[in-house]
């Protein structure tokens, strides 16, 4: 364990009253009004808010296979810079993370890098081909202890396969995270289907293609009594379906991305492929609906869907460009801007949506590297200090990610991560990464 003790002085715990926090031996050793920090290095946190280290349930780290876009090391640095202490690495790598071998490799790379815990997501089907189940149990039993399974990027559209996957992972308390996209309704789709897509001549990605799959999967999950998680929900209709499911007490959880909380399809009229993402940016009405859904708990969590791409995959014609945008190092600012500064969510709500709940869904809140734990004495010292009064103009060139495809480049956003601690060790201090 890290030998250094750190005393955080005067931070507002979860945005509440000010208090001191002593981080020692990887845990929160003391917490309260007047903590004895003898021998500890003191950090003045007056005006800052302390939250539990953020947990991302949906990150594309690209390694193995596309190390030109991102590596486990660079992606977790970007995560730390954004206040995250754990990320779930999606399975659509090359080779696909569909065996114990690949998930263990990713997990180990995360441990070696040490910037944030890496929790690999396992593929649901072999090679993401949607034909037969991958060895889900082997991945669950591996050193990586996989609990989240997803073919993200591709929808598990075969109803029988989806049913079996939902049933099978019950044996080890896993969850299927569905990328809800009816494939036939979205062949060649380029942007939200709307009047704008008709005007721009871009193939539409209709809301119903997302909603139809969510509705089906909610019914399937109810039928077999399994946990279901919906990735990057993006439409008003999807929010309504999930709301209904929760009213019926079904074990369904859902996530929304920062970009779907802030950006709308209008940006596509520039044909700038930085705004090309899947599911696509939607209408202002959809944005309002996902914000409401996140505020009232219909949507459980914010997940970044951080999707790095090299320059050449974005500096091209819209149709040829890759889907996806960076999200890790801007997520908290976007959430502050869209949810906190608008009064929809307080900081303890942010802690829930970005730390407690994602850790609970991913079942990484209870093992020896537990994440998303309360800020309480004896809990792991995963802490992020943020300055809500700060603001910055996003410069994608300065991102710790290897890629530059941030849709917020040049945009002014509030807030800033001042420090991130992973089990008591600073990964970010004074707003900068502690080591390269």
């Amino acid at each position: 364990m890290n030998g250094e003790s750190i005393l955080i002085r005067g931070a507002r715990i979860l945005g509440g009253p000010q208090g001191d926090m002593l981080l020692r031996d990887g845990v929160i050793a003391a917490l309260g009004g007047d903590v004895d920090g003898t021998g500890a290095r003191a950090i003045d946190a007056d005006g800052l808010v302390a939250l539990p280290g953020l947990v991302d349930l949906h990150t594309h780290l690209r390694e193995p296979g596309r190390e030109d876009a991102e590596t486990v090391a660079s992606g977790t640095r970007a995560a730390a810079a954004g206040g995250f202490t754990a990320v779930h690495a999606m399975a659509n790598t090359d080779p696909v993370a569909d065996t114990a071998g690949v998930v263990e490799q990713v997990w180990r790379l995360g441990r070696e890098a040490g910037h944030a815990d890496v929790r690999p997501v396992g593929a649901v089907t072999v090679g993401l081909a949607g034909e037969r189940l991958a060895e889900l149990g082997a991945m669950a039993d591996s050193a990586a202890r996989v609990r989240v399974f997803s073919d993200d990027g591709i929808c598990v559209s075969d109803a029988v396969l989806m049913r079996r996957a939902l049933e099978y992972v019950k044996a080890f308390d896993g969850v299927i995270a569905q990328h809800a996209q009816e494939p036939r309704l979205t062949e060649g789709a380029q942007m939200n289907e709307s009047e704008l897509s008709g005007r721009l001549g871009l193939r539409g990605w209709p809301s119903v293609a997302e909603e139809a799959i969510i509705a089906r999967d909610v019914l399937l999950a109810a039928h077999v009594g399994s946990r279901l998680h919906i990735c990057h929900l993006s439409t008003r209709g999807s929010v309504e379906i999930v709301r209904l499911a929760k009213q019926r007490g079904l074990p369904v959880t859902a996530e929304v991305t920062p970009h779907h909380l802030l950006l709308t399809e209008d940006l596509v009229s520039t044909y700038d492929a930085r705004y090309k993402v899947n599911p696509p940016l939607r209408s202002a009405d959809d944005v309002a609906a996902v914000r409401e859904g996140l505020a009232d708990g219909t949507i459980d969590i914010v997940a970044t869907d951080h999707a790095p791409h090299p320059v050449e995959d974005k500096e091209c014609e819209w149709d040829a460009a890759a889907f996806g945008m960076l999200g890790l190092d801007t997520a908290l600012s976007v959430v502050q801007h869209t949810m906190v500064d608008t009064g929809l969510l307080d900081w303890s709500g942010v802690a829930d949506r970005m730390s407690f709940a994602p850790a609970r869904i991913g079942r990484c809140d209870s093992d020896d590297a537990a994440q998303g734990r309360p800020l309480a004495v004896g809990e792991p010292a995963n802490v992020v200090l943020i300055d809500p009064a700060a603001s910055r103009t996003v410069d994608a060139r300065t991102s710790a990610s290897l890629s530059r495809n941030s849709p917020y480049d040049g945009m002014k956003l509030p807030g800033g991560v001042v420090a991130t601690f992973l089990r008591g060790r600073p990964t970010v201090e004074d707003g900068a990464l502690t080591w390269i």
């Binding site: 001549g201 193939r203 014609e317 819209w318």
Partner: protein, 317 residues
């Protein structure tokens, strides 16, 4: 006068009229003359950048540029970056290095011309010669020019456009331009070939061709690709033709002086019957001739001047 021509929506009534008036002069300056070549764009380089084959459009632009004495380079980029060939960006940088003044770009991806014009990769004027299922503004201009020659001022004239609006860049550009020029446009198509939100376009929409024809001053038939029926946009070519094709019976329900347009290439027997296509009130061949005049006008207005300010009102003393 015009920096780029990317969408018919970019043109105000005044600008569109200037282009059409200029095209009128281009026709008068070259029609029936021994010397068809004007020295106007001597020393200027126009690149025809075609990522998608279209001999007729390329030839039309080539002829237009050559009649204005521009140097013309035909650059057919066989592989677009869609097919993992040279990227649009690298091609643009190459053209910039060659000193292109104007780039006429045809591409299978919607927005490619827009991207080229706004990316900062190249400073040349960009002219959209058809981008994916988005727009084809010079086709709309040549259609408007042809309509104007036959109908005069287009204000309150009824133009019926029939066919695949969803995948059709011609329909999109025509609706925008004709609305700007004050014409009343009616789109006719099966519901599957109309884009979402078409009811908010500046036009009428109907599924009933027979109802639309008796009031039409002109009817424009769009090419419908047979392959669309494989994707279930309509059941069969025969049914399409029966419900949306212009045959002799429907032709006879048009007012006596109404004209028929088609951007070509035609599917005879599909959207238009052979006898209608060859009727003297069909102006399809004339559209091809007019295409050259309109493109001369656009190239002139785009490339002849210093590229700053506007042309309007310079002559008032």
């Amino acid at each position: 006068m015009i920096r780029h021509l990317l969408s018919a929506a970019d043109l105000s009534h005044e600008e569109a009229t200037l282009i059409l008036d200029t095209a009128d002069e281009m026709a008068r300056l070259t029609e029936g003359r021994a010397v068809k070549k004007l020295p106007t764009l001597r020393g200027r380089t126009v690149v025809n950048l075609f990522f998608e084959d279209s001999t007729r459009t390329r030839t039309s632009f080539e002829l237009a540029a050559k009649r204005l004495s521009a140097d013309v380079i035909n650059f057919s980029a066989k592989g677009s970056s869609v097919s993992k060939g040279e990227s649009l960006k690298d091609t643009a940088l190459t053209l910039a290095a060659m000193g292109a003044d104007g780039v006429v770009v045809r591409h299978s991806a919607s927005g490619a011309a827009y991207r080229l014009a706004t990316s900062g990769w190249i400073s040349a004027n960009v002219l959209n010669a058809g981008d994916g299922t988005h727009e084809h503004p010079t086709q709309a201009l040549l259609d408007a020019f042809t309509l104007r020659r036959h109908l005069g001022d287009l204000r309150d004239r009824d133009v019926v456009i029939v066919g695949d609006v969803l995948h059709g860049r011609v329909a999109r550009s025509n609706v925008l331009l004709l609305a700007t020029l004050g014409a009343r446009v009616t789109l006719v198509a099966p519901p599957t070939l109309l884009p979402l939100g078409v009811e908010n376009w500046p036009c009428e929409v109907t599924y009933d061709l027979d109802a639309a024809l008796p009031g039409a001053d002109a009817v424009m038939m769009l090419r419908v690709q047979r392959e669309r029926m494989n994707a279930a946009f309509f059941p069969s070519a025969r049914e399409y033709s029966r419900r949306y094709g212009l045959d002799a019976r429907r032709f006879s329900s048009l007012p006596e002086d109404a004209i028929v347009l088609h951007p070509g290439p035609m599917n005879r027997g599909m959207e238009i019957s052979a006898d209608v296509a060859d009727n003297e009130r069909s102006v399809i061949v004339e559209q091809v001739t007019n295409g050259v005049y309109v493109r001369m006008a656009v190239l002139y207005l785009m490339l002849a001047g210093s590229g700053t300010g506007s042309a309007g009102g310079e002559d008032a003393a």
